[in-house]
């Protein structure tokens, strides 16, 4: 292999598994260390820089960082990253004077954002401080999009939403509620310099089986959750069937319990392991005694005397092949399940009835606009998409990242610059050595297992719809959990010219990451290391030739626990522990009039 190019910011970024897994590249280890030091406001601001809604995301983020977390490979469970984010949000002081401010004068550019969900709000957050006049058009009489209408209050209290959305609106955003846009063409005629579409994926999928339209007790999940949020729906029958087993289904079943149902069943077509819902949402639902029935495929609604009494299901059997793929299944029987109400939670579609098809915006076969994944611009110049509206339903943190990228594009577009010509990511490295065996971070391995989120007592939590179930970590839990983070951003940085090949680092490494050997190609090297390097997603570091023997130092990044022992045992300082800081460019870093500069500089 060629010597690894660690000057490429991607190399060390990828070692920070959580940050690499986070669509918005949140600097997780940095904020966890701040929490460890009791610097909650700093930790909050570090989060806000990249993910804009730390209080919201600290409760309901889809947390792609957690399955990515290195700790989950070294032992069973990853660091409770999301829970710690909430600690920062819950315990911060008043940070209003640290928020971005709008300048006194406008920069003379006007942008329109359609929809007041997290995608549009992120664009506003990034562009308002640059002097843009920002107008948000929202169809409903409130802000937040699905975060308010669909994510139930027992998971995300409205006060948290209100506070973090206000941080953005208070910069002087012109918010037009009850203002659905019914023609994009008309809006484009109003002289905005750029337009952002953040209208989400608003249509719940339907289930076309016999009896679907013969009762008003059959609900579409996202519409039903919205009507609960707006208190149009206050009750539900005693026996409820939820069709589908994604995250929407989990919110529907738990909401049903709070509206008076006491027999709620989630009906899954496939077996466990093929559910769309996140593990923690499944756990939370099952803790509330929701029953999940697998291998039931909906066949028809059943009526007696014109009244819905339940549904018939086909019982399925599946074959799963060696790669873990499931076949289409065979029907082995049929079963009737009684129900008073049925909620359909089988997915969402995009819908743009208000976008004319002859204004230069191309749509693909699924009726989604064709959007560039980097610039977020569609096929019509000056119109940008982000969040669920861009590529179909995803989650909040993706919507935020789309918002950041769209803001950069809009900023450049409004100044007549090439939107493809974007600032690259940058990387700073700084040694963390403080003395002989002293590092500026806590490098000792804490063997504690993942702390469990305390919940409101099962008896109490159903009394009202808005009792937040999760109580947040206690101080004791926080102290343990922060120490579980392995500080993956404190990188092992190697200087081949200093190495005398004494093997000290190889011998001390607790997880056998390091090998000195003759060079070879990657496949071959992976078989010749001190411990098998079977995780192909994780990089091998290969040094330049070592001075004494011409062999190379190879490091398998997979399981390094960043304990610093290699650097402590090295007599020549060939290994050093250096903190990498990823410099992520935002709209504010692009300064169209100035010379080009590197992100964050």
């Amino acid at each position: 292999m060629k010597p690894t190019d660690t000057a490429n910011p991607d190399y060390y970024h990828k070692v920070v598994d959580c940050q690499w897994g986070c669509p918005a590249h949140t600097d997780v280890p940095a904020y966890i260390r701040m929490i460890a030091q009791g610097r909650f406001s700093d930790a909050y601001m570090e989060n806000r820089k990249s993910n804009v809604f730390p209080g919201i995301l600290g409760r309901v983020c889809d947390r792609p960082c957690e399955p990515a977390c290195r700790r989950g490979r070294v032992e069973e469970k990853p660091v409770a990253i999301c829970r710690l984010k909430r600690v920062a949000a819950d315990h911060r002081d008043d940070i209003t004077d640290r928020l971005p401010q709008a300048p006194a004068r406008s920069n003379g550019k006007k942008v329109a954002l359609i929809g007041a969900g997290c995608a549009s709000l992120t664009v506003a957050n990034d562009l308002r401080p640059l002097g843009y006049e920002v107008t948000i058009f929202e169809a409903l009489d409130t802000t937040g999009g699905l975060m308010r209408t669909n994510i139930p209050q027992f998971r995300l209290p409205p006060a948290v939403l209100d506070e973090e959305i206000a941080y953005i609106l208070d910069m002087g955003v012109d918010l037009k509620l009850n203002h659905p846009i019914d023609s994009l063409e008309d809006l484009l005629g109003e002289g905005y310099d750029a337009v952002f579409v953040g209208t989400g994926a608003p249509r719940g999928k339907n289930l076309e089986i016999p009896g679907r339209y013969d009762s008003d007790r059959i609900h579409i999940g996202i519409d039903w959750l919205e009507s609960v949020a707006f208190e149009h729906t206050k009750t539900i029958g005693r026996r409820v069937l939820i069709i589908g087993v994604g995250n929407t289904a989990m919110d529907c079943c738990r909401t049903s319990l709070r509206l008076g149902a006491d027999d709620v069943k989630v009906m899954a077509r496939k077996p466990r392991g093929f559910f769309k819902a996140s593990d923690w949402e499944l756990e939370d639902a099952e803790e509330e005694n929701v029953e999940i029935l697998v291998n039931h495929s909906p066949k028809e609604f059943v009526y007696e005397d014109g009244k819905l009494v339940g549904m018939n299901f086909e019982l399925m059997e599946y074959n799963i092949d060696e790669q873990g793929r499931i076949d289409r299944g065979t029907v082995t029987g049929e079963k009737f399940m009684p129900a008073d109400d049925v909620v359909l939670a089988i997915g969402q579609d995009n819908a743009f009835p208000w976008i004319e098809r002859d204004i230069g915006i191309e749509f693909n076969e699924w009726e989604c606009p064709v959007v560039d994944e980097t610039t977020m611009m569609c096929t019509r110049d000056g119109v940008f998409f982000g969040g669920d509206s861009a590529f179909g339903p995803r989650n909040i943190i993706w919507a935020v990242e789309h918002g950041h990228q769209a803001a950069i594009s809009m900023h450049k577009y409004c100044h007549g610059e090439n939107i493809e010509d974007r600032l690259p990511m940058g990387m700073n490295l700084a040694s963390q050595k403080m003395g002989m065996h002293e590092w500026s971070f806590s490098n000792d391995y804490n063997p504690a297992s993942r702390r469990l989120m305390p919940h409101v007592d099962l008896k109490k939590r159903f009394k009202k719809l808005d009792i937040e179930v999760e109580l947040g970590f206690t101080a004791e839990q926080t102290i343990e959990e922060v120490e579980r983070c392995l500080n993956c951003d404190v990188q092992t940085v190697f200087a081949a010219n200093l190495c005398i090949e004494c093997d000290a680092c190889l011998d001390i490494c607790p997880v056998n990451c390091l090998t000195i050997t003759d060079n070879g190609d990657e496949q071959d090297l992976r078989t010749r290391l001190k411990a098998p390097a079977e995780n192909l997603d994780q990089a091998l570091y290969v040094s330049a030739e070592l001075p004494q023997t011409g062999r190379v130092m190879v490091k398998d990044e997979d399981l390094c626990v960043h304990c610093s022992l290699c650097a402590e045992r090295c007599p020549t300082g060939a290994w050093d522990m250096q903190k990498s800081e990823l410099l992520v460019p935002y709209a504010a870093d692009e300064s169209p009039q100035d010379q080009p500069k590197v992100a964050g500089a």
Binding site: D503, V561, P571
Partner: protein, 351 residues
Amino acid sequence: MSYIAKPKITHPGLNKNELGLTTRDYEGAVSTLCAGCGHDSVTAAIIQAVFELNVEPHMLAKMSGIGCSSKTPAYFASQSHGFNSVHGRMPSVTTGANAANRDLTYIGVSGDGDSLSIGVGQFVHAIRRNLNMCYIIENNGVYGLTKGQFSASADIGSLPKKGLPNQQEPIDPVSTALSLGATYIARSFSGDKEQLVPLIKGALLHSGFSLVDVISPCVTFNDHEGSTKSYAHTREFYNHVINVDYIHPSEEIKAAYAEGEAMPIHLRGGDTIVLRKLSREYDPTSRASSFKYLRDRFNAGEITTGLLYVNEEREEMHELMGNVDTPLAHLPYEELSPGKEELHKLQSRYR
């Protein structure tokens, strides 16, 4: 040294030996030697060797004297027996222990000062007795623990960190052992575990005295330019003549060894090792030719390494003395000490 302990977590893919143990199970306390000390690498090689040989920790005894090298038994096999003796006296203590319990595997770890300066008398007599033990000298040419004075293995002309070059003839443990009739003699380098681990395995399996002289640089007092025991010097003048492979009893000797170059050696204990000669002129079973070769290469400034001499004919101490198979420590007291009358009978035979 490090202030934090090595975390207990391990690589989930770590191999297990026939006892279900990993190399981590054969570790000891965290080393307090200087970072980069060759001795720590030898410790790692010992761990690897006892792991691969499936040594039961309670059947291993770690013996040592005084010195940085002699501290190292604390850093491996923390479940095993150990005795840290007075400076240079490890061989007699091991002789006593072995006399009492011949069933244990004895591994002595010593230094060039411990064995060749203060302890040279003990060292030579352990060889003469063909004491059944693996004797490792971690050879750095200095007294590391007392801050780097030359030891008896320092070469003429070798420079100290400060001061004048050494003028006295070095004692070479390998030639010394050869002349005294040791039955397994090897030299290696802490920076070459591929060579060192099989040599230690062979030494542990060999019945009788096996010496492994390991060049083990002292990073703090003897790793500078002008030193003949530094990492750089050892690598530059390294002459590797023979490789050793350990053959597990269940394995056939593979045909992969080139004719004439592969030399299977059947150890008295029943195991087999295969020597692979890298130099055709070398015969590791002839004392005379080994001696000459070593001298010539030494005069040419080279450091000859590998399994340099092996003799599976000679009996070890207990066999030479005709002792019972059962360890004395396990004999019932009546048998061990049959009483006054028996003693008188015995004595009368010599009157």
